[in-house]
Amino acid sequence: MSKTIETLDDVVIRFAGDSGDGMQLTGTQFTNTTALVGNDLSTLPDYPAEIRAPAGTLFGVSSFQLHFSSMDILTPGDYPDVLVAMNPAALKVHLKDLKKGGLILVNTDSFDDKNLNLAGYKTSPLTDGSLSNFQVIEVPVTKLTLNALQGMGLSQKVMVRCKNFFALGLMYWLYSRPTEPTEEWVHEKFGKEPELAEANIKALKAGYYYGETTEAFTSQFEVKPAQLKPGLYRNITGNEATALGVVAAAQKAGIPLYYASYPITPASDILHNLSAYKNFGVKTYQAEDEIAAAGAAVGASYAGNLAVTGTSGPGAALKSETISLGIMLELPLVIVDVQRGGPSTGLPTKTEQSDLMFVTYGRHGEAPAPVIAAATPADCFAMAYEAARIAVKYMTPVYLLTDGYLANGSEPWLVPDAKDLPAIPVSFRTDPENFHPYSRNENNVRPWALPGTPGLEHRIGGLEKANITGNVSYDPDNHDAMVHLRAEKVAGIAKDIPLQDVYGEQSGELLVVSWGGTFGAVRSSVDRLRKKGYKISHAHLRYLNPFPRNLGDVLKNFKKIFVPEINLGQLSKLLKTEYLTPVIQFNKVRGLPLRSTELEQAIINALGGAK
């Protein structure tokens, strides 16, 4: 049966099911295939804090959203066009986000009384008319999967587990994607269990053929490849990119990478990724806690490695005292804070931007440290690399802020050639002549003098040090001078970072100023509003301390400064302090990326209403 193929620019699909239903895997496979067919894309996985909550419950629902397009896109999308709901709970949780008229694919086999009950449905939404605003495609996914796998001699349990591949296959058909990449992946993954591989592939194909055969679908869709810049692409999550960024920095600096960490959501994947790169000489050290991780990183830095320690909010809190030591010792160190919902344990699997003030000011004493932040998943590579560059060049701990959304979200990354990455020159001091541990170069930077170097034996520590000699000093004027000197060293980095660029006109009515993981949402909102004729510009900050040296001038060129953040206004505070400029705040702290509709409305309001 041949069907019409409709061409779309842009699709947002959300796969949702039980934690045990394999939705993350399904989403990832769809993403990879979509990348291969050349769409631009952006993803947003969302999973519960529970490992595997009891089947069928609302809090056990796991989802994966994917936005793909034949055009440049920047966000995983606010509202899905398509919802794949593997059970009633998934439908219940996600229905409210679906676009009006959107497509719902449900696995009818899971809509039994027990599951409806667990999801809190009094009547079945499939029959009570509550879905009448949507296009509902009812598919007995489980039954069809079982049918497809009949006779292979597999247990019922194993066969049922393959049902996500059936759904995946069906979606592949619907959006005209090839099944081969996933088939290859299955072969690789289940190489040692060939029946499992075969079963999954059979389910996949059964789903695909079901689409082709059944009358449920009248048309198939197609999303043409995007006009991406030519080159080699790779779909990458923020955590993968961060890991690659620090490996690349170490390789280019010619020193070993040392990653000390303690597992914590959503930062653990950086550790997982790096622990696989042993043949790059990467040392990963899973410490007993975050304090020990920070301590080991300080020690490794002292011994001449590129030391990095990654964590999330609660862990970053524990590291503060040790980072303060790193600041006194003036040793290079990268601290990655993958921000999540706070305070306390908060919403550990959700995203937030609420550690900006904390990493800027969260140490006792005057303890300045540079702070930079990644804008997109792929940008984590560039900014991790940049954090390392600054740390090594300025002999200082540097904070890199990413967040739960960037960490787990993915996008296509135009992979750079290793040889084109900027150099990270490292020169260890070896000459004993006139050596002083706290002598300084033109950037106020002291030498990196490694234990093991003959003739440079010296002692450093957390007590205030005499300028130049580095000896302990209780001298009041020396302390005053050193406090100022440390502050100036960090402030001086401003001359070594890019000027702030502005998207859109360089002056005007309103400038949207954002930072970190909200880049995509903000930029696409700005874009849409600009297309509608609103004269607004956008400055996205990747350098938070120090700010780019032209930022003050940039702000002055606009009548209104609009600052959207997933916190209560932390960048707002910094801008107000630094530039004494009023700002209009937009703060939604929902553990989720900003929603462009809300954001756009707020900008329009700031402009004085719709035009």
Binding site: R234, V247, A292
Partner: protein, 347 residues
């Protein structure tokens, strides 16, 4: 002895203790036991095959933690309790270094307790010297986790209500592979124990009884003063019977599973009945560790336990080597371009 430096070149110069003294004035209270510990470390270092730039002393905070400043070597005066963490980073980043930890009973066992037990468990090649003066010296006299129950201190005017740790027992419980005890006021013994520690691969934990003459004067006099020492100190020596007393007239005998102090004078028992020490026996080590808490028993000093177990840093290096051998040395460009890639061509 000709020392070689790290590059295998022979170093003709033989060090003396003085070579390990830094140019900084030593700032402990006059009479503090720390002076002797410093002197003994400086004295044994020339006997090692290690050039002075390969020694790194890491400390926390406390009187004892000022130690690195006084050594002409590399050093980091860290933060309170975290020396083992910092030192673990140094040692694993560069296993070629000889990494020492100078710490106190508060630094190591109060705030730093977790790092200490984890270093021991991991068996990272650190030489941990724990100066036990049973008090917080630097903060002027609060009780520590090794202070006796009931002790009156600045923070416990009516006496402590905390039962103390037995550091040797704790270190053994935490999988220590080298656990020893010595005394500030027994320089020779201390030197021997320190030398043994330097020979150990993996974490060496040495508790050193140290007199704080300002806030806890005389805490160990019974173990260090001529009069009382012989009857209260038991020297542990591999393969030797556990004999002690002014005239070597007492010994430790095992009665089944229970140790007892017996006299060798009254003819009932002779040296051949006495327990012969075996520092490779964990069970024996634990048994002996409890002596310092048992009324009527002498306090053992020396090496309680020593066992060979591959060090953490060695396994780390080996793992990197073996993966590199299998996969080839990492190629950054290939790594960046690995995974799920596709090419967008100019059109």
């Amino acid at each position: 002895m000709a020392a070689t430096n790290g590059n295998g070149e022979v170093q003709t110069k033989k060090y003396t203790a003085k070579d390990f003294a830094s140019d900084q004035d030593v700032r402990w209270c006059p009479g503090c036991g720390d002076y002797s510990i410093l002197a003994q470390v400086q004295r044994i270092l020339p006997e090692l095959d290690v050039p002075k730039e390969k020694h790194v002393f890491i400390s926390g905070i406390g009187c004892s933690s000022r130690f690195p400043y006084y050594m002409n070597a590399y050093g980091v005066h860290g933060i309170h309790g975290r020396a083992p963490a910092i030192a673990s980073g140094v040692k694993t980043a560069n296993p070629d270094l000889t990494v020492w930890v100078a710490t106190g009973d508060g630094d190591a066992l109060s705030i730093g307790g977790n790092h200490i037990i984890h270093s021991l468990r991991r068996n990272i090649g650190l030489k941990i010297l724990m100066f036990n003066n049973r008090i917080y010296g630097l903060t002027k006299g609060q009780y520590s986790p090794t202070s006796e129950l009931g002790k009156k201190t600045k923070s416990t005017p009516f006496g402590t209500i905390d039962y103390p740790f037995n550091p040797v027992q704790l270190a053994l419980g935490a999988e220590g592979t080298f656990v020893a005890r010595s005394l500030d006021r027994d320089p020779k013994h201390l030197q021997q124990v320190l030398l043994r520690a330097t020979k150990h691969n993996g974490t060496a934990f040495v508790e050193i009884y140290q007199n704080c003459n300002v806030f806890n004067d005389g805490a160990f006099f019974v173990f260090t003063e001529k009069e009382t020492k012989p009857d209260n100190i038991l020297y542990l020596e591999q393969g030797k019977p556990l004999v002690f007393g002014k005239e070597n007239d007492k010994g430790i005998r095992l009665n089944g599973f229970t140790p007892e102090v017996v006299s060798l004078k009254d003819g009932k028992w002779s040296v051949s009945d006495i327990l012969v020490y075996d520092e490779t026996s964990f069970d024996l080590a634990v048994l002996l560790a409890t002596f310092s808490d048992r009324a009527g028993f002498p306090t053992p000093i020396g090496v309680f336990y020593q066992v060979e177990r591959k060090s953490y840093e060695k396994m780390m290096t080996e793992q990197i080597e073996s993966v590199t051998k299998k996969r080839g040395a990492g190629d950054l460009d290939k790594l960046l371009k690995s995974g799920n890639t596709w090419v967008v061509s100019a059109n």
